[in-house]
């Protein structure tokens, strides 16, 4: 268990990785950085999380400043990407599925995630995928396969996907834009908006907007939260470190959220989830 607790960035590691993160938030680079410099105590980890949040925020701002059309222009810079990553991306491209096969699989995703990817409530809440950041979706599908993120149903679904299909599906949801599914307790929305915009300084919780964007639409490895199902967000924040970051050998971007999820009280979790559920 100690291995799981350990690594997060410190300031020196930020500096070392700054050149890689210049134009783009790349989850692979973040994960590599997370492995490089283990930090052990909780306060250091919390500090590291906040500092990384600040770095990511400035990176997002820079990326948006440099590039007029945000999501597509923020695609990984091939020239700077390490060779192995480029090779993997090329392999995924060459492995792109035939149209009919893609459509069948995409329809299959929407069986549970809603006909327009808006999410669906069954015995379990199925998250909204519409408008989600492809880089985030791809990383989550890989996390299910590698069991970094534990979810038996999604492991079954994801582990049969070839890399090309996985990439195509992650891209497929980006352009869907249905209305939020709704169902959140409306009276909690104002308090949730305040947490989203200002954080909870006393509990070391940064403003959600600093990484997820003022409109909560995410960027690169940072997921879109706008329109997410209230009950889904509540469950995920509550169970954060039981579901995510489960492979000590492969720390991932989920560590950024761990101290933040733990810093929120159950009431605050409900509030922020209600606000996000209401956002278009």
């Amino acid at each position: 268990m100690t291995g799981r607790r350990a690594p997060l960035l410190d300031h020196a590691a930020f500096e070392r990785n700054r050149s890689n993160a210049e134009n783009v938030i790349d989850s692979k680079n973040l994960e590599r950085a997370l492995r490089e410099k283990p930090v052990s105590t909780f306060s250091q980890r919390a500090l590291g999380g906040l500092a990384l949040a600040a770095l990511l925020f400035s990176t997002i701002a820079r990326a948006q400043g440099l590039n007029a059309e945000p999501p597509k222009a923020a695609a990984p810079n091939k020239a700077e990407a390490p060779k192995a990553e480029t090779a993997k991306a090329d392999a995924a491209k060459a492995d792109a599925p035939p149209r009919a096969e893609f459509e069948a699989k995409f329809t299959y995703c929407k069986t549970c995630h809603g006909v327009s990817g808006q999410g669906f409530r069954g015995a379990y809440p199925m998250p909204r995928l519409a408008g989600q950041q492809p880089e985030y979706l791809q990383n989550q599908l890989e996390a299910f396969i590698e069991r970094r993120r534990v979810n038996p149903v999604m492991f079954n679904v994801a582990h049969v996907l070839r890399p090309g299909m996985l990439t195509a599906l992650a891209e497929g949801f980006r352009d869907l834009n249905p209305k939020p599914l709704g169902g959140e307790p409306r009276e909690l929305i104002p308090a949730g908006k305040k947490i989203f915009e200002e954080g909870v300084p006393a509990a070391n919780v940064p403003p959600c907007a600093s990484c997820h964007g003022a409109d909560a639409k995410g960027q690169g490895a940072m997921p879109r939260l706008a329109g997410q199902l209230y009950d889904y967000t509540t469950r995920k924040l509550t169970n954060w470190s039981k579901e995510r970051g489960q492979d000590p050998a492969k720390p991932d971007t989920s560590q950024l959220m761990e101290p933040i999820a733990h810093g929120l009280t159950p009431q605050q979790v409900s509030e922020v989830a209600a606000y996000l559920g209401s956002l278009e």
Partner: protein, 170 residues
């Protein structure tokens, strides 16, 4: 009420093509009664019996019927092929990702007890479950997203296994 029990049985445990409605999710029962009334549930036996039965049904009465039947104790039909139970359970809990079969459990729940407008399936009769799945892939009751899509992804053997597994669930 006498009219309902004529086909569904005096304890509402179902008989022949009429399903068990005892212990069913009340929200689901209301939606189905209204779907018979507006003809969006257009399966052959629905047309034959339920369209007429619900033609003059007021929504308030539909809710009262639903609450009454939902509160009755339910007995499992136990009439599937017991040799297929394990295959059915696997399919129910895990789906079959290679052939785009979704896991039933995510909507219908771990013991197939249903949720709000999603029906309880545990203990329904083999014949009813099988004909519903078959009729979705034939195009009946097309408005019941996502079931038409789910049913078309199932092979006849998978339908047999699922209906068998569910018929034994308490």
């Amino acid at each position: 009420m006498r009219n309902c029990t004529w086909c569904h049985g005096s304890a509402a445990q179902g008989f022949s093509s009429a399903p068990r409605i005892a212990g069913q999710q009340p929200h689901y029962l209301v939606e189905q009664l209204l779907a018979f009334k507006d003809h969006s549930r257009d399966n052959p036996t629905s047309k034959q019996y339920m369209w007429g039965a619900t033609a003059r049904l007021a929504p308030e009465l539909a809710s009262e019927f639903a609450a009454y039947f939902a509160a009755l104790p339910a007995e499992p039909a136990n009439d599937g092929d017991s040799a297929l139970v394990e295959a059915g359970r696997t399919l129910y809990e895990h789906g079959a990702a290679e052939s785009n079969v979704a896991a039933c459990v995510v909507c219908h729940g771990p013991n197939a007890q249903g949720f709000e407008a999603i029906p309880r399936l545990g203990g329904l009769s083999y014949g009813y479950l099988k004909s519903r799945l078959a009729q979705w892939s034939e195009g009946y009751h097309a408005s019941a997203f996502p079931m038409p899509q789910v049913a078309t992804s199932l092979s006849p053997e998978e339908v047999d296994a699922l209906a068998s597994y569910l018929s034994f669930l308490r």
